[in-house]
């Protein structure tokens, strides 16, 4: 009997006997060989097409390359941070609409949430990029990224916040009422501060979606990581290597954000997972 079976992956299998152990060893060897062949095939494909040539990769040993990519990354992070703020504010407003006592406000908030959750970010970006100028509204490229990205994420944020508010035990509210606090005070001082702690992991996961969506910044010519990568490519004529490195940077950022979310969720077991509230993935 093994202890600490926290993982169903391991619970599926019994303690292996000698024969199973041998099978597993053979399977491991075969799969290692298969993965090695796969990796070799990828490297070969790079090699025979000349993509391993030093000129494509030595640019990453240059300080200027990283400074330029770093500037782009800063643009991405700036846009993502602002979009995060926008989406939190909008999400908070929608959430209060969703839980308030007036039926008509609840309906409006629900309709808006369903709308923004059902429309792709790119469509919002095109709205800000192509439609608003026709109406005579001129915005900075920064806002043409952050506003649509923020708007498209706010529906999920509203639902996440609402699930947090619902998770606060009713006794908290009752206790606050019995102290003579008012409705607004109870919500802002008792319920919401607890709700936000429940949903911090889910909010961080949502930030991943925001970071991913900011890649569309090149549509409006905002100098983010993707846009700077394009400039780098035209300077060095190194399409594949630059795009791959940039993709890895994005993957790392989002991976770390997800890790952070998981770590916080594990430290505070009473947090809520966002699994059922997951919004757009791209």
């Amino acid at each position: 009997m093994r202890d600490a079976r926290t993982n169903i992956r391991d619970a599926l299998y019994e303690e292996p006997g000698p024969i199973t152990k041998r099978y597993t060893a053979v399977g491991t060897a075969i799969s290692l060989a298969a993965l090695a062949v796969l990796a070799a095939a990828v490297v070969r494909q790079f090699y025979i097409n000349g993509q391993l040539a030093p000129r494509y990769w030595t640019i990453f040993f240059r300080w200027t390359t990283w400074r330029f990519l770093g500037q782009g990354l800063l643009g991405t992070l700036r846009a993502a941070a602002m979009a995060g703020v926008v989406t939190f504010i909008l999400g908070f407003i929608l959430m209060t609409g969703r839980i308030c006592n007036y039926r008509i406000l609840r309906l409006i908030a629900t309709a808006i949430i369903d709308f923004v959750r059902g429309v792709p970010t790119l469509l919002f970006i095109y709205f800000f990029f192509l439609v608003l100028p026709q109406l005579g509204i001129r915005l900075d490229a920064f806002w043409k990224v952050t506003l649509p990205v923020g708007i498209s994420a706010c529906g999920v944020v509203a639902e996440v916040l609402r699930s947090g508010v619902n998770a606060v035990p009713i006794g908290q509210k009752e206790a606050a009422y019995s102290l003579g606090m008012r409705e607004t005070g109870i919500f802002l001082k008792v319920v919401f501060p607890q709700a936000i702690r429940y949903v911090i992991p889910a909010l961080i996961s949502e930030l991943v979606i925001v970071v991913k969506d900011t890649t569309f910044a090149y549509v409006v010519n905002f100098p983010d990581l993707m846009q700077n990568a394009k400039v780098l490519i035209s300077n060095y004529d190194a399409m594949l290597s630059v795009y791959l490195v940039v993709a890895v940077i994005y993957i790392l950022i989002n991976f770390l954000l997800n890790r952070l979310s998981d770590t916080i969720a594990k430290q505070r077991p009473r947090t809520l997972a966002a699994a059922e509230l997951k919004g757009p993935t791209a």
């Binding site: 169903i8 992956r9 792709p120 790119l122 795009y243 993957i251 989002n254």
Partner: protein
Amino acid sequence: MGVEELLSQFGGKYAQAFRMTWRLTILAFSIALVLGVAVTVLRVSPIKPLRLFGDIYVQIFRNIPGASLLIILVYAFPYLNLVWSYFTCVLIAAGLIPSAFCSEYLMSGINTIPIGQIEAARSIGMTFTQMITKVVIPQALRASVLPLTNLLVSTMLTTAIASQVPLNPQELTGLVAYINTHAVGGVTAFFISAALYCASAVVIGRIGSLIDRKVRIRR
């Protein structure tokens, strides 16, 4: 431009674009399901390198931005002598990303099964295959209906990346960009596409929660 004028001029294109969006969605979602199940099998297999491969696969495709993946497939892969049509590239990108999420949902579906059930299955003498096909998979699927419904919606939203490449006919997002660069479509052009997306999402969501209510096991 009013709705009628816009529809008389572009109505046919909207119908085509709507069909295109759905076609991409269904195909990409099928790819996502097949790959998602396959990767999940790797991730629960007893063979460590395959598990690791599955985990890395999921981390890559759940964290890569759709635009980045599509651009690599369309513009960078030809340098590796891998040239695919725009349609294929969109389909691959819009299938790979949800496949990672699909695997995550299936994994958490598997995780909702109490370990006691596995032990019970084993104690009544079920073989490994019986246990997987009769106990684990049915329950994991039942618990995954709602997440997979959301995945179908988000796959549909992901197919909007197709607007970044010339596709013929265009899908809903590309069409809005097209109309607004060729004529003054304004807000109306945007809202027709948005309404079509939303209607699809609402219909998918309703059907999903109906199925979920029927099959989910409350614990």
